[in-house]
Structures are given as structure tokens and as C-alpha cells.
Amino acid sequence: MLKTFSIGGIHPAENKLSADSAIQVLPIPQMVSIPIAQHIGAPATPVVKKNDQVKVGQLIAKSSGFVSANIHSSVSGTVFKIDAIVDGTGFRRTAIIIKVDGDEWMEEIDRSEDLLKEITASKEEIIKKIADAGIVGLGGATFPAHVKLSVPPGKTAEVLIINAVECEPYLTSDHRVMLEKGDEVLVGTQILMKALDVKRAIVGIENNKPDAIAHLTKLAANYQGIEICPLKTQYPQGGEKQLIAATIKREVPSGALPIEVGAVVQNVGTSLAVYEAVQKNKPLIERVATITGKSLQNPSNWKFRIGTPVHDLIDAAGGLPEDTGKVIGGGPMMGKALSNLEVPLTKGSSGLLLLPREEAIRKDSKNCIRCGKCVSVCPMGLEPFLLMVLAEKKNYERLEKDAVMDCIECGSCSFTCPANRPLLDYIRLGKGRVGQIMRSRK
């Protein structure tokens, strides 16, 4: 019996179209737009101004608090302007727009492909380097990595869990990273273990990636304390709480963080970024993303510079298909629909999905037939049908009592509902309002 989480869960069509396509390098665009808010927390503060010359890897916006992250230039060139642009969230937000000129890197960055296995940095140096490099969770949540590594007083980390689940349908960037950068990922894992002072790390991989499981299992024999843990394919296993439940059978209490049960979770892509930051002095200026879709000519995986416009990635994969109805930043379950193709790719961009129009249009919603399927698939053990009604009726008191804030917005309820009810849409609204109410109480 393969391990998995026990409450709820669904199995959407996997559609991993680009799984066999090796990572390619996306050409550097002529202009990049680098948003100063690419992470959860306070936006960074720009430290460059118009017409400044910048190099690849140069700090251009500084972390503005503990929960914030540095931003580095991903190209060399001239700061064209600092202005508001529409980003992947659909809002207008500040970005540093750089006109590209050549490809000149900061001198301290080691650009060689040599594998550096020996970890010389101390625990404190590691955390500082990770913070300096502006590394955030690359699974999509973009939570600053150094925050998770700074274990609060009174708590101890016992185990590091590497999230290599990639449970979103279509996406394959983590899969490719594991196959092509396996050693780097494992060294990165050891660095994270050292930063956390833990002796044990578990890499959770779903069994729809048998090649990645085999490859990493073989490599892991050379590294102390790293276990590869195959998991039964089930969405949303990449959810932090679900992954902890699946791998070490502990339930993170409602409202608490994983450290409460002694676990710290980092994405496999983050692990690679950590390796590059600590061993190679390379800040987070590029990452791998999947470009995919059923009508797309060439579903594939690309390493891109942060700030590259979305249409560059689409063009590289054969151009926008005629029947495109929706362009999604991320996967089909939790990704965000983009409003235009100028949106820059950012630290959190794990993929881009082009959905054909007929799949993109939602079916009409019908009466709830009380089948209870939303309840049985909810991985948090909530009652989506009820939360939706309460949100519609603006009954925020009961929403809070019925644990709306536990919702991880995985979308399993809306996905499953035979009446096509917009369950998560309403729950999200209710969650936003309840969150405001709870914060104002403090």
C-alpha cells in the first residue's frame, strides 16, 4: 500500500503532456518587467532608479521586512522605468522594467555546471544566503524560504519534507528538475537539513512519476538521511498539510503551521534554488516552467529569466492555438487565469496552461441535490455546500465557526460538484471577509 493522505481527495485527469520534454533555455527577451511583489508578505523596496545600469544577479529591490524577499535583476541592461503593470494576479502593481543589453553577470556568481557537494557554510550563513538570494517557495505559494527555516523559539524541527508531489494536472517542471538536476536537488536538501538542524529528510513523489522516483532513489543512496517516499497519486497531495499527513502521518492543527508537528516543507524547485544560492552564489533570477495545453503544438519545459512576458513562452512552444479560451498561470486546479499575454513570468510561475475554449467555459449551475460529494472530497473535512450557502447569506459568524479559514482553496469541491455549483468562488469570498473580521478583532 502506497502512502497518501486519508481525508478527501480527488484524481483529476493527469494530462502530463510535457513530461518527456527536456528542459530548454528560453531566449532572453528584449525587455523584462520584474514585479517587486512576487512573494507572500511585504513588497520589496526598489534600490535602483531610472537609467541605472544593472547586471544579471544584481539586487534591484530590497526585502522590506522579515516576511518579504529580495528581488534581483534577471538580465543586464538599463532600468527603463519603474511603473505599475498588470501582473499575474490581475492587479496593477509596481514592477521594475529593464531594457536588456547583453548578458553580463555579477562576478561572484559561479556559472559552471560543476556539482559542489561539500557544504562549507554554517547554519546561519545558509539562512542568510537564502534570504539574500530572495528565494521563495517555488511550488506556487511563494512564501519566503528563509522564514520557514527560522524555527521559532520553543519549537523544534524534526524532519524536512521535500514537496516533489506536483499534484496539479499538466505541470511537469518539478518532474523534469528531478530527472535533470537530481544531484543538485539532493545537495540542496542537505543544505536545508543543515539549516534546520535535522537528521532526516523525506522527498514525497507521486507514483505517476516512476522515473523520478527511481532516479532519486538511486542518487539518494549517496546522501545521508534522505528518504525517497513514493506516494499514491491523489490531488491535493502537494498541499503542505496533506503532504505532512501522507508522509509522516501527523495532522497539523487547524490554524497552526507545520512546525507545530515538527515538520518543515520545501518544494523540490526551492531545493534546487537553495543549492544554487548557497553553493554558487546565484540569486533567484531564473526557474523552470511548463508550457502546456491540449491544442498547443509543443508542450514543453523551459528555464526562463524572471520578468519574461508570458507570450515569449507561448511563442517558444509553437504559438497561441486558435481555440485558446483561457490562459492560466499555474495548473488547472489552483492556477490564476491571466488577463493578457504581457504579464511577466515570476518566481511563482511553475507553468502556463492554455485551455481550449470549450473546456474553459463553465457549465450552468443547477440546484444543489445534496449528494454530499463535496463533503467527501474535501481534504480539510469541511462542508463546502454549507460554506457556500453561508457565504451567500453573508453569515460570517457561522462561516468562522464552520472553519472556513481551514479551506486551502484546492478546488476539489467545485471540480466534483455534479450540479456545477461555484462552491469555491463563494467560499473564497467568505474566507476573505472572515479573514478581515478576524484581523480587525486583534
Binding site: 492543527p253 457549465k363 441535490i369 445534496r370 454530499g372 472553519a403 471540480f415 460538484c417
Partner: protein
Amino acid sequence: MNTKVLVAPSPHVHSGDTIQKNMYGVVFAMLPALVFSFVYFGMGAIIVTLTAVASCYLFEYTIQKYLLKGEPTINDGSALITGMLLAFNVPANLPIWIIIIGALVAIGIGKMTFGGLGNNVFNPALVGRVFLLISFPVQMTSWPKPLGFSTSYFDAETAATPLALIKEGLKKGEALSSLMPHVPSNMDMFLGNMGGSMGEIAGAALILGLFYMLAKKIISWHIPITILATVAIFSGILHLANPEAYAGPMFQLLSGGLLLGAIFMATDYVTSPMSNKGMIIYGIGIGFLTVIIRAFGAYPEGVSFAILIMNAFVPLINAYIKPKRFGEKRK
């Protein structure tokens, strides 16, 4: 590039499951029992089924169009289920006009009064059946003998149900051991060779339907299995306490409408609880009430009443029995 793209919140894909798929799945699961009833009751079963289904469609269409003035709903498949279940729940030679009244009560009062599919509190088919049982007790309890296609519709030979045989006998003061030789064997009951309502007689066919619905994930095991287990355990205890007054578990499971009720009536989405824990409590309630009514009540059979009574508790169960939450703080 001036392609227009949609912007909507996630999730961006859907399982493709629909209300119709579930409803027609239930209908498909009922087909084996329907075939059995055609074999045992011949023309009668066909006439009853066609009348019930046609009148349910007609009433739903008319009420939705002229009284509720809403979008047509007859395509969702629920009227077909109600019609078939109503037919399954009446004798196979019930006069046609009584069936039509039953359909009117089932759809009109049982379902549309509440606003249509999804809003009703009680299982519509059972509302129709119980209304008929109380209003036309004679016609509703003269079951034709399951003889096959030769049976004519109106002057069929009648056969009492096994449960009624026992109830009558016990009322007259006879001991169970002297009654049992007169009731059909377990195997006969399993294969449908007994008196009873049109769709309830063939246990084997109903169980086939259960397996289909479980395999297709149309329903979960919680409701049917807890009902059957509760009936088996509780009637087993009574039987052990006094074997001369209370029939054993196997007889209870196979006789009357228990399998039909547990598999097709109690599992109605709209009128059963939402959470697995709630479903188990609901199932235990139905099983318990069924045995109580059969053992101590005036009616020989109690499944319909048990389900309707537990239907009334469903809102309460939903309000108090919550699913186990992930990481719930225990007080």
C-alpha cells in the same frame, strides 16, 4: 495578438460529472429489478411502471411550467427515478387511477411543493406510497401471485407477503415455528418468488443494482450497509431472546421492502445526510425503526415509515453531525 481570453477563478477544470449522469446511473441500477418484476408479474408490471413514470413526468412538467413558471426540469432524470420507485413500491395490479393519484402526491406534494429537486425533505416516491397505503389499504395490500406473463391484470390470484403471513399468524397466537413452513424459503425470497410490491421481491436483482452504484461511485456504502447491518443485529438479538415471536435476521433482510428501501430509497441524495458519519447514524435509525415497526407495530412492514421518519431528522443530523475535520482542535 487580440484573442479574447476568459478570466475566472480556479478551479479551471471540472470532473464532467452531472446530475443526469448520477440519476440515469440509478435508473440503470434499477433495471435488473425491473426485469425481474416483468418476469414475475408480466403485463401488470409493465402497465404499472409505464403509468407511474408517465404521470410523474407529466406532473413535474406541468407544475414546473404553469405553477412554478421555471426552466423545464424533467430532463434531469429525477422524475424517472420517482416514477420507477413508485411503481416498485406498489402491487403489480394496482388500479391505474390509484397509481396516477400516487404520482400526483409524490411529485406534487412530495417534491414540487418544496421547490423541486434538491429542496424536498421527504423521499417523493415514499410520500406517494405511504399516501396510497393509508388511503387505499385494501388495494395496496392485495399483491398478485408472482406467476409470470400469463397473469391477467385485474383478477389475479393474490398472495400475502411473508411479513404479513407472520404478522397475521402471530396475532392469532400461533408460534413462529408453526408459521415458518408456510412462508417462502430464503432462496425463494432472494430470487423474488414471494408476494410483494412490484420491485421489492427480487433481492438478488436489487443487490446487483447496489454493486453497480457502489462501483460507479453513485452512492457510498454507508447508508445501505448500516441499514442492513442494524436490521440483522437488532432482529438477531430479538430472535435470540424469543425465537417463537421474532423471526431471524436472514428472514428480516430478505422479506418485504428492506433491500429496496436500503438500496434505492434511503440513499436518495436529497433526503439523506451529507457526511459519512451522518449517513451512518441515519442508517442505524432506519434499521432500528424498521425492526421496531415490524416486531411491535400494527403494520407488518415498516421500511417506508422508518425512512420517512429518518428523512425528517436529516436536517438535524446535518446540523449536529459534522465530518471529521483535518487538524481539528480537540477540547
